[in-house]
Every structure is written in C-alpha cells, then in structure tokens.
C-alpha cells in the first residue's frame, strides 16, 4: 500500500461525491411503470412474496406497521370535495427506486448498503448491523427491517418448501428491500456467460414485471440503448442523473416522471402519469 496507491484510491473514493453514484457501470437496471395501465391488483406484490421469500407477518404485526412487502401498491383517493370519487382511485406500485444518488447509501455506518456496478442499491444482509439509518433516510420509505425472526412463523411445514433457494431467508436485525430480483440478474448473467454471449434485453425480467396482467412494468438496462426500458425513457424524455428536474423537457406533455425527482436522488424507476378523461 504505497502512498501513491493511497492517494489515488482516496481520490477515487472522493470522485464525484457531490453527485453520487457509481461511475463504472456495467448495467443500469431500471424500470418504467405505466400508471395508465396499472390497475392496482396486487399481482406484482404477491409475485414478489413468492420470489423473494418475504416474511408473512400476520395481523398483529401488520397492525404495528411491520409488514415486509417490498413492493406495495399504494392507493390514494383524490383530494376532491365531491360526494363520490368519480375518477376512481390512484394506484402506484412503490418499491425501492434503486436511486443512482441514493440517500440510503452514504449513511450506513458499515457500508452494508452500497452501489453495485449494475446500478443497484445492494443490501448486504451479512454486513448489516441494523442501525436502520438507511430506512430513515429513504424518502420513499421502501426499506423493510426484520423486526422479528419472521421465518419462525412465516412458513410452517411444508410451506417452507416453497422458499426460493436462490436467495436467503433473513433473520431478525437486518434491513431488506427490493433488489430488482438480483438472483434473476445473477442467473441470467451466468447463463449468458456460459453461452458466451452478451446479456440481452428481456433475457429475464423481475417477478413483478413478469406477473403484471397489464404489462404496466417494463424492466431492463438503460445502458443498452435498444432495450425496451431505454426506449421508454427516451420516448418520455426522462434522463438519468440528479438535477434533471431543472432541465425542462422538450415536450412538456410527455408522461414520464420520477417520484421525488426534486430531491435529486436519481431514481431508477420512471413512472408514466396516470391518465383520466377530463371531459366527464
């Protein structure tokens, strides 16, 4: 460890600290969620339970707010004074936004959450000491903490046989959250490597995107200019990076937006605005 090495690495460590983000991306997984198509049916959420070994907490713990749904479908009523909600409800699937400039990452005292070269906010369960600072600093509130040893009651025999062996079952005291089905990413990468080819768009999708009955969720790599998700982002003129909200779109009518964009966290999920007839 020479002085040169120290200084070089240190400057690397400091590089672009003001902007945030990993700088040598191999992929940048991202999503586009069309709220015009999302019907709020919860299929994505249940698919996530099935894929990711999410604990079933039961009524009492759900009441305390200790549920573990990595992907929750938030339902909002309109703020109108009318007698009835004539324009229906608003649904938004809310999961970890895999921010490029995530606020959860710098605050973890042990670097248990960090940015991968895939553009994911990885959560290293083994490293987590449970300070829960990351969750406090998440404006979306999509990080879920193992308040209990959920596995003790979640899967009585033989429900445990359903558990996905590709990822772990978490014990108490660690934070967890949506991983963009990192085990599927891993498998797809391994397969591509074995078959000596590049990873292709739609080689795989996340469990939620796969289940969605209306195909409201598009998943892919924004570094691949030909991927569906890249096209969607381009089409709606949503750019990666923080501070993008300061640049107005060429066509202001395009529907793409990112939740809490003004916080400059660079979310990887682009939502497309919900559409309603105004003439009724």
């Amino acid at each position: 460890m020479s002085l040169k090495n120290i200084l070089e690495n240190f400057s690397d460590f400091r590089r672009d600290a003001e902007v945030g983000g990993h700088h040598d991306y191999e992929h940048r997984w991202a999503m586009s969620i069309d709220l015009n198509l999302c019907i709020g049916c919860n299929a994505c959420s249940t698919a996530c339970y099935a894929e990711n070994n999410l604990g079933i907490v039961g009524k009492e713990k759900f009441e305390k707010g200790q549920a573990m749904h990595w992907l929750r479908v938030e339902r909002y009523w309109d703020e109108t004074d009318g007698e009835f909600p004539e324009q229906g409800a608003s649904f938004v699937p809310m999961m970890c936004q895999q921010c490029g400039a995530a606020t959860c990452e710098p605050v973890c005292p042990v670097a248990a959450t960090y940015h991968t070269p895939d553009g994911l906010n990885a959560q290293v369960y083994n490293r987590c000491i449970g300070s829960r600072y990351c969750s406090n600093n998440c404006p979306f509130r999509v990080r879920y903490f193992n308040f209990w040893s959920y596995y003790e009651q979640s899967w009585p025999e033989p429900l445990n046989q359903q558990l996905n062996p590709d990822l772990s079952v978490r014990d108490k005291g660690v934070m967890e959250k949506c991983t963009f089905c990192v085990q599927r990413i891993r498998t797809a990468k391994d397969t591509a490597q074995r078959e000596k080819r590049q990873l292709q768009d739609q080689d795989f999708v996340t469990a939620c995107a796969q289940a969605c009955p209306t195909n409201a969720i598009t998943f892919g790599d924004t570094l691949d200019p030909n991927s569906k998700v890249s096209k969607a982002w381009r089409k709606h003129q949503v750019e990666r990076g923080p501070y993008t909200h300061k640049k107005p779109k060429e066509n202001a009518e395009l529907r793409g937006y990112r939740v809490f964009e003004e916080l400059n966290v660079d979310p990887s999920i682009m939502y497309l605005e919900r559409v309603r007839e105004t003439e009724v």
Binding site: G65, P106, V107, S131, R132, Y133, N137, F145, L263
Partner: protein, 471 residues
C-alpha cells in the same frame, strides 16, 4: 461587596472545608440504600427488557416502517446533551475565570461522565444486531472491510469515544489534588486506594504549575470537542434529507439544547446534594442564582433557535418541511409539541425572578420541568419526522412500547446508580478549589477594603463635585 452577593463565605476554615466534604463520603444511611436499591431494580428491569429484546428482535420496541428510530435515539441524544453542561460549563467557566464554578463543577463533571456512560448504551441497544457492534470501528479486517466513513453514525462513534475519554480524563486529572487530601485523611485500604489515585501528588510548585497549564489546555480542547460532539450528534439528523431533520441550525440548536438540559440537571443535582449533604455553605444560594441566570440565558438562546427553525421552515417554503411543522403543531403530536414549548420556553421564565431563584423547592420543580421539556424536545425531533415524512402512505403515529420505556427508565436508574456510588467514593465538591475560592475572595475583600479606605480619603478630598454621582 455585600454578603448577599458573595459566592461563598470567605472565612470558612480550610480544615472545616476538608471535614465537611469528607463527611459527605461517610457511611451511607438508610435513604441512600433505599435509593440505591430502587436504582438497581430499575437497572435490572432494563436488563431484563434488553435480554427479551435481544432474543426477540427490535419488534418488541414497537418500531415499524416509518419509525425506524424512536425513544432510544431520543434518550441517547438526551443523555449526550446532559453530558454537555458538566464538562463544557466547567471548561468555559474555567477559561473565563468564573470563580463560582468551583464548588459545583466536580459533580457536574461526574454527571458528564456518567451521562456519557449511559448514553453510550443506547446506540448499542438500538442496533438490530448488537453483536456486530464492533463493525463500526475502523479495525484492520482481513476482508478489507472498513466502516463507511461517510456515515454520521461512524462520526458519532469517533466523537463519543473521544469525548468520553476526554471528559473522564478531565474529571480524573481535576480530582488529583483532592485525592491527595483524601489520602492524607483516610485510613486503611482507602488510604492506599486514594494514594494510588493521587499519583504521588504532594502539592509542590512544579506540580501546581504543570497542573494549571494542563487543566487549561484540556479545557481549551474540551470546548470545541463538546461543541463538535453535539454537532455530530445533530448531523445524524441534519445530514439526512428528512424534513424536520435536514435543518442548518441543528448543530447550534443541539448544542444549546444540550447546555440547557445539562444546566437544568446541574440545578437538580445541586439542590439534592445541598439538601442531603447539608452543603449550604458551599452550594450557596448565590451560586444557585448564577446557575439559574445562566440557564435562563441558554433557555432564551434555545427558544430563539427554535423560532429561527420555524421561521426558516416557513420562509423556505419546502412543502415537506412546512407541512411537518404544521402537523407537529396541529397534528397527532400537538400536545407534546406544546408541552415542549411550555417546558422549554415558558417555564424558564420562573428563573427570571429572584424570589423564585432563591426558593429551592420551586427551583427543584422548575429544573425537573426543564428537563422534561428537553427530553420531550429530543423525542419531538425523532418521532414526528418519521411519522410524517415525505411519503404520506407511510404516515403513522407511534408511542413507545413497554420494553422501550423499561430501558429508558432503566437508564435513569443506571445514571443515578453511578452517581450514588460516586458521591460516596469521591468528593462531590472540589476541596482544593473551594479553598482557592475562599483564599482569593479574602484577598479581594481586603484589597477592596483598602481601596475603599483610600477612595473615601480621596472622596473627602474631592468635595464640590456632586454631579458626578448621578452620572
């Protein structure tokens, strides 16, 4: 100088000072042991609660998705804050040569050390996997893993360990001359023990000289350290993006709040010690008055910073911040918010009246109210922000669980326990500095008398200029 304004009676015999202070360390009485037992019971409750929490998980605390932090962090900040009055006040007053600190700084510094020892538990108790606590320390690991130096929690670990060692050293170094006194008065094993703690102190000029310099240098270090410690604790909040936390005024606000709660705690302990150890001659009402005035000043600073925070939130016009503020004042936590403002900004006005300042029962009650206000303030910082942050879908109202309360109460038991042990093993009033105080006071009085004598002479010689007095 009128008797009424004197800090202490300068004619106290030095022999008597020794005896009076050492008498406070006599074998404890019935009430001491009852209090002791109560404190132990409180600590045991907390230990039992912690064991349960350790086995079952943090869910026992009633935390949930928006409320990842709650009472533990609030209590942590409270105790860290309380630790500030002792050392910081002692150091500042030492540097500005405020003589009245001398009879009271010892127990205040002990309070600092003990509240730090209490505060230190909370980040641990609060961790989901406390058994991996050491991962926040920068030790060389074969896996090439270091803590994340960007996290304010790691800064906390550095700052608190520095502060704990520094304030403990400040206390211990400051006690060395007193240890020598105790060594010379005690018999048997105590003599040996105090002898070891006195480190061979005999009071020669070289020792005093080096001691004076060391003490001053430490005081100089401690002031910025204490300020930095609470600034860093505040950056746990201020460095986040949460509305209500990401506030520029948080560091001074926290420091002011810390001094505030610390001063209130000094008042409480002052009255308790004064009453139980019959130390009316040392912990005089004049010192109490000065402490009260200081507390009042800090209370006003704190209130001002509160107003600044509200005003900047208001003018900043950030939706999240603004709505949080409105919700604090008008939402589910409103009663606690107003309780905080009453305790923190209205109740201290009792300190503005001399009659009340000299009435110990009132002051005792007021000091407790101020501390309640400060505890509630810490909790108001933690809980409502998490309750009503950016995402309204995750809004929730939470008051702690019984496990959490047991541990919070247990921490008070633990602090009291340490303090109880301290007052029986160590002098809670600095004997050598009280002696210094009387010595200097006496000399000042004499000088004043001489000066009065000369000035009356000169006055007598300056007849015919009556207008001057009115000016």
């Amino acid at each position: 100088m009128e008797i009424k304004d004197k800090i202490i009676d300068e004619n106290l015999g030095w022999q008597r000072i020794n005896e009076d202070v050492i008498r406070s360390m006599d074998a404890p009485g019935k009430y001491y042991w009852i209090t002791f037992a109560v404190c132990i019971a409180m600590v045991l409750c907390a230990v039992a609660a912690e064991i349960y929490q350790y086995r079952m998980g943090m869910g026992t605390v009633g935390l949930n998705n928006p409320h990842m932090w709650d009472m533990y962090i609030a209590t942590f900040v409270f105790w860290i804050g309380m630790s500030h009055a002792g050392t910081l006040l002692s150091a500042i007053l030492h540097i500005i040569h405020a003589q009245w600190r001398k009879p009271i700084y010892r127990f205040a510094e002990a309070m600092t050390t003990f509240s730090l020892m209490t505060a230190g538990f909370f980040p641990m108790i609060h961790l989901g996997r406390v058994w991996n606590l050491y991962w926040v320390l920068p030790y060389v690991s074969d896996r090439g893993i270091w803590p994340n130096f960007r996290s304010p929690l790691v800064w906390d670990a550095f700052a608190i360990s520095t502060y704990l060692s520094a304030s403990a050293l400040f206390l211990v170094i400051g006690m060395i001359p007193d240890m020598a006194i105790l060594r010379d008065h005690a018999k048997g094993w105590r003599r040996k023990a105090y002898g070891i703690l006195a480190l061979g102190w005999r009071g020669d000029d070289r020792q005093w000289r080096v001691f004076r310099k060391t003490y001053m240098l430490m005081a100089c270090f401690l002031i910025p350290l204490a300020v930095s410690v609470h600034s860093i604790v505040s950056s746990d909040f201020a460095m986040s993006i949460m509305p209500g936390w990401h506030v520029t005024t948080f560091p001074p606000y926290f420091v002011a709040g810390a001094l505030y709660s610390g001063c209130a705690a000094i008042m409480t302990l002052f009255i308790i010690l004064r009453y139980f150890f019959r130390m009316e001659e040392y912990m005089t009402l004049n010192i109490m008055e000065k402490t009260c005035k200081l507390t009042f000043a800090i209370a006003m600073v704190w209130s001002y910073l509160n107003i600044i925070e509200f005003a900047s939130t208001w003018y900043g016009h950030n939706t999240y911040d603004k709505e949080l503020l409105i919700n604090k004042a008008n939402g589910p936590y409103a009663h606690i918010f107003w309780l905080m403002l009453f305790c923190g900004s209205v109740a201290p006005f009792a300190l503005a009246f001399q009659k009340l300042r000299r009435h110990m029962p009132t002051m005792f009650a007021v000091s407790l109210i101020l501390q309640l206000g400060m505890f509630v303030e810490r909790w108001m910082i933690v809980a409502p922000t998490l309750s009503m942050a950016h995402n309204p879908h995750q809004w929730d109202v939470l008051y702690g669980s019984i496990i959490e309360w047991a541990i919070v109460f247990g921490s008070f038991g633990w602090f009291s326990l340490l303090f109880l042990v301290f007052v029986k093993l160590f002098p809670s009033v600095s004997m050598y500095e009280v002696k210094e105080l009387t010595f200097h006071l006496k000399h000042e009085m004499e000088e004043e008398k001489e000066a009065a004598a000369t000035s009356s002479k000169s006055k007598a010689g300056a007849v015919g200029k009556p207008g001057l007095e009115g000016a």
